[in-house]
Amino acid sequence: MTKHPEFPRIRTVGLSGLLVSFGAAMSEPANRAALAFRAAVDAKGWDEVAETSTSLVSTFLRVDLAAVPTQDMIDSLTALLATRDWYDAALPSGRKLWSVPTLYGTDLAPQLEEAAQAAGVDADTAITDLSQARVRVLTIGFAPGQPYMGELPDHWNIPRQQGLTKSVPQGALVVAIRQLIIFTNASPTGWRHVGQTAFKTFRPESETPFALSPGDELSFPAIDRAELDHIRKHDDSGNGGATWEDIA
């Protein structure tokens, strides 16, 4: 339990809404607290709240603060926060465990060596670490359906790069600060590109456009280039060879 006297903390986000943060850095209890608090806000059905979302350790409420008195919202949130210990909340139900085949390194994921070095291991150990880790979707964000997953062992607490990589492709597996991301679309990033998947996190034409939900768990078993090419050639579901089962 990593409570801190400053948290939970309520802040305004421009005129766009309010943010309730449960920690200054990623922690598992704060992540669960943010998910549970969002569910509680949704259950309240407040008219002023246009929508809600979570980031790693915070719950966001989109509220038009040009029209709604900010202090009234802060009072309502303070009262709701006082109703329980949010750090003690359970994970959401209906979660899945995904297994997503991943090609590590090669010219398709050129920063494996660099990331391994930052983590203080050799490339083979890095592949073992990353392919055997079981991580949880901490939040969906940045791009549609894009998961931030964690947490990796402590030696993977590597910083983001100072400069941005111009573009990593769709399905890129990138790493920083003990977390992994599968990129939804080609995008610039400060995270290091260590693996390549054929998994589509966002399928706008599908009945289930967003493949993952916060709380889902994933692993990234290693495959070789031939297997990735085979998957890319034959998969049109968007799963990129991934399989899943219910866990809760």
Binding site: R11, T12, V13, G14, L15, S16, G17, L19, S21, G23, A24, A25, M26, R38, A50, E51, T52, S53, T54, S55, L56, V57, S58, F60, R62, L65, A66, A67, T70, T139, I140, G141, F142, A143, P144, G145, Q146, Y148, P159, R160, Q161, Q162, G163, L164, I177, T184, N185, S187, G190, F202, P204, E205, P209, F210
Partner: protein, 347 residues
């Protein structure tokens, strides 16, 4: 057979836009929609219809278009040269585009995003609640030559109306409120930020706009270890090199770079409409002042429909007088030179 508008040529990045898709933040999808939503309100006012209808957004450069049937159109946003067949037409105005006539829209003269509206709006497929292409999310796509867009049922109304656009072109002062990490920047850095004249970098799009300036970058106390947090359009993110990056309608939903402030929503079109090289300054206002400014801006939007007035063909409104056939003397400008005598009206 429903009406269509066919794109004969299109500049890069031309796309269908509306007010976007609110409600998907938790899934990582930002609202998107028109880079300059004020233009959608102006188009709606000119055509007497809902601002929720979809229009064509044209970044920097228009295209050539042809309608399958007589169609009411309006032109708003960045002022672009425009003509129907060989006749120049006025921007910020509504016109009748006759069936088969060619509408040619050129480069932006003032501003960055021009808009082409049609009576009834574009009736393209709705995906996740909207017709807008969200290019960074991979929803929809830019429009290419040969595409025919279906047009919705037009409730009809006048054309030949004009509107004075809401002031937002040519850069200038942009008002901001403090953001979550403003306190991470020293008061000196905040002051220098307000005192700096920025130029909109050429690297700008619907996701964000980079701001250039010759001096040192703007650095927060702890730039690289801020936890990834929600982002909203207007947030001014300071990336690793110290350059401000104003997040726009198609921005990401979360980010880990510190934000020095947030542009208030009604000033965001001023950033969107700044051409590369245009000078901009940022000035902090309190949240209370920002709420008042926003309320005034919303009132201005609501009064747009009442400000629409008939287009008087004042020569000063016409950029290129020489391309008009200025007829005088005994020949009426309205007469059809090929009309036969039998078709002349009886006196």
């Amino acid at each position: 057979m429903s009406r269509t508008l066919t794109i004969l040529t299109a500049g890069p990045g031309v796309s269908v836009q509306d007010m976007g898709r609110p409600g998907y933040l938790s899934q990582g999808l930002t609202q998107g929609g028109a880079a300059d939503p004020v233009a959608l309100h102006e188009g709606a006012a000119l055509l007497g219809q809902s601002a929720m209808l979809a229009a064509i957004e044209m970044p920097g450069m228009g295209g050539t278009f042809e309608a399958s049937a007589d169609t009411r159109i309006a032109l708003t946003g960045a002022r672009m040269s425009a003509k129907i067949d060989d006749d120049p037409v006025v921007w910020n105005a509504s016109h009748l585009l006759p069936a088969g006539a060619r509408l040619t829209i050129g480069g932006a003269q003032t501003g960055a995003y021009g808009y082409l509206h049609v009576g009834g709006g574009f009736d393209t497929p709705v995906l996740l609640g909207a017709r807008a292409s969200h290019l960074s999310a991979g929803i929809g796509s830019v429009l290419e030559a040969g595409t025919s867009l279906p047009i919705g049922a037009d409730n009809g109304g006048a054309t030949g109306n004009v509107l004075t656009p809401v002031d937002r072109f040519g850069g200038g002062a942009v008002r901001i409120v403090p953001s979550m990490q403003t306190d991470e920047f020293t008061p000196e850095t905040q002051n220098r930020f307000e005192a700096t004249e920025f130029r909109r970098d050429a690297r700008g799009n619907r996701m964000g706009v980079r701001m250039d300036q010759p001096g040192d970058g703007f650095f927060a106390a702890d730039t690289l270890s801020i936890v990834s947090e929600v982002i909203v359009p207007g947030d001014i993110q300071i990336t690793g090199d110290g350059a401000p990056f104003v997040l726009m309608c198609e921005c990401q939903t979360t980010g880990g770079y510190p934000r020095i402030g947030t542009v208030i929503p009604c000033d965001l079109p001023r950033i969107a409409q700044a051409q590369a090289g245009t000078a901009l300054r940022f000035a902090f206002v309190t949240p209370e002042e920002a709420a008042q400014i926003t309320a005034r801006a919303r009132t201005e939007i609501k009064t747009l429909a009442g400000q629409v007035r008939p287009l008087v063909r004042n020569p000063r409104d016409i950029r290129d007088l020489l391309s008009y056939q200025l007829v005088g003397g005994v020949v009426s400008a309205m007469a059809d030179p090929f009309a036969t005598l039998t078709e002349e009206p009886t006196p």
